[in-house]
């Protein structure tokens, strides 16, 4: 894609001669880095935007965002009872596995779907006020983290009701949420840019996500894959779910999960940074 789009951009440095007191042009990478940092420094801005998004979504409803918690609870209990019967699994271990799996999957899939709209939803803002582009990505991730937080309220209730002991491994949810948020940011920046330029990306992403849901051990345990277990071990989405789910239900994540997720995050961040540096200046023209 980098090669395809390269031709449509005239070099910004093209016509500048050496004379004159113009400061040297900052490199694209520096400008992109500055954008990411300036966006982060305005945490109050994207925090307020994210809160406003949630408030607008639930305006007029008594329970507000707790509707999410409630509907997730109903879904988890209903599915948990039926599927544990279908898969011949113990309800006491399966229901927490399923519930947390669905919650984390919902975070990943909603963030990815909304990532395509990162720059298109606030198009009038982008066209009118010069704020760092990264703010829009932080906003999408922040909004989804708030939803994730509401959904995770079920977890302590479940732990008590189902008598699941809290083990020391619980500390891993902190790095897990940080890494998931980092992944969310690069996915939003990358998909946000690509989807602003190519309008058929959003439906492609939506159907790809649906397919991935069936290939990823979200509602069924990875162990049931048997000789196909490697399919879970090479699936970065399984790793992403596993690192947050396992500590919450009191088990250690699968051995490959952290290394795989770390690699996935590093590659994603690196590639997205180059892409963002290259095409940042075009976003205002694309939306």
């Amino acid at each position: 894609m980098v090669l395809l789009a390269q031709s449509e951009i005239q070099s910004a440095e093209g016509s500048v001669d050496a004379a004159g007191d113009w400061p040297p042009l900052p490199s694209r990478a520096w400008v992109a880095w500055r954008d990411l940092r300036a966006g982060l420094a305005r945490y109050w801005m994207w925090w307020a935007m994210a809160l406003q998004d949630i408030k607008l979504r639930y305006r007029g409803s008594t329970l507000g965002p707790f509707w999410l918690t409630l509907s997730m609870l109903i879904l988890a209990v209903g599915m948990g009872v039926i599927y544990s019967h279908l898969f011949h699994l113990d309800v006491h271990t399966y229901v927490p596995y399923l519930t947390v799996g669905l919650i984390v999957w919902q975070f990943i899939s909603t963030t990815t779907t909304e990532a395509c709209q990162t720059f298109m939803t606030p198009d009038n803002v982008i066209q009118q006020v010069p704020i760092p582009f990264s703010i829009h990505a932080y906003r999408v991730v922040c909004r989804n983290l708030i939803v994730l937080g509401h959904n995770l309220l079920i977890v302590p209730i479940g732990l008590v009701v189902l008598h699941i002991p809290v083990r020391a491994v619980i500390w891993q949810i902190v790095p897990a949420v940080v890494v998931l948020a980092l992944d969310g940011v690069w996915v939003c920046l990358l998909l946000g840019m690509v989807a602003a330029r190519f309008r058929d990306i959003a439906p492609i992403v939506a159907s790809a996500l649906q397919m991935t849901f069936f290939l990823t051990p979200v509602i069924w345990p990875a162990e049931q894959l048997g000789i196909y277990r490697w399919m879970a071990d090479i699936n970065p989405l399984y790793a992403a779910i596993d690192v947050l789910r396992a500590p919450l239900i009191g088990v250690a994540p699968a051995p490959y999960s952290w290394p795989l997720l770390a690699t996935f995050t590093a590659v994603g961040c690196g590639f997205t940074f180059l892409f963002f540096a290259r095409f940042r200046g075009r976003i205002a023209y694309w939306v």
Partner: protein, 251 residues
């Protein structure tokens, strides 16, 4: 000291028609040498600005004059740092406050007071700083009890008052305004002008795009005439106005 300068700035818009918005068509056109989807690259490029050289500095109140589509709004967007020039260079120093359209960051369901905070946020002003000035801003708007009503009940003129009051609550060093701001009533315009004089007298810069010649002559001390994306004349507002209103030379 606030300044903005442009050298050889050009802006080209690719207008993406249906086909070039599609990744599938773009890929197909590559793999089949363009036989299947020859319309994938049928982009129309609009040359919105060509070779703009401009320096605005200390105490300048610049009027951008030109017919519709001459490039006034595009130039404002370049000055605001929204459009990165496709060629040439732009350098700006100073806190920019841009009033390009009324709609940004206004939540029609929220009250005027709440929108003062939101609108300020988009202008990069922290809600805490904004809250301290809310009453002062509300006074300036002269909206009376409307300030506590939802913004959807406001008239266009009332929205203009609100937006202007927020944008100038913290004296910007560079204030960019598109012509819609001049749609306010004469009482408001007088008040707005007075407020701007207080900070433009300092080291601040005002750039205003409009057709309303008498108003521009009153508000501005410099003008450039844009035509087809190029600067075709510059000088005092009166000189540029004369040129603008002169019959078009053949050729």
């Amino acid at each position: 000291m606030a300044f903005v300068r442009l050298r050889g700035v050009s802006v080209e818009f690719p207008i993406y028609s249906g086909g070039s918005r599609s990744l599938k068509k773009l890929v197909l056109s590559k793999t089949t040498q363009g036989n299947v989807a020859s319309d994938a690259r049928d982009r129309v490029i609009v040359q919105a600005l060509t070779d703009i050289d401009l320096e605005v500095g200390h105490g300048d109140r610049l009027a951008l004059v030109g017919v519709n589509g001459a490039g006034k709004s595009t130039l404002l967007k370049v000055l605001a740092g929204i459009f990165e020039p496709t060629r040439g260079r732009m350098q700006a120093e100073g806190r920019v406050s841009a009033l390009l359209t009324a709609q940004v960051g206004l939540n029609p369901e929220a009250t005027g007071r709440e929108n003062i905070i939101t609108r300020g946020m988009y202008l990069d002003i922290h809600p805490r700083a904004m809250r301290e000035h809310v009453d002062e801003i509300a006074d300036f708007t002269e909206l009376g009890y409307y300030i506590d009503m939802p913004v959807r009940t406001y008239s266009a003129g009332m929205i203009i008052r609100l937006c202007f009051a927020v944008a100038t609550a913290f004296p910007p060093e560079i204030l960019l305004m598109d012509e819609w701001i001049l749609a306010g009533d004469s009482n408001f315009l007088q008040k707005a002008r007075k407020r701007m004089e207080t900070f433009v007298a300092g080291s601040s810069i005002l750039v205003l795009a409009s057709h309303a010649m008498p108003l521009l002559e009153e508000w501005c001390n410099r003008a450039v005439l844009l035509d087809g994306g190029r600067i075709v004349a510059s000088g005092t507002v009166a000189e540029v106005a004369a040129r603008h209103e002169a019959p078009v030379q053949p050729g």
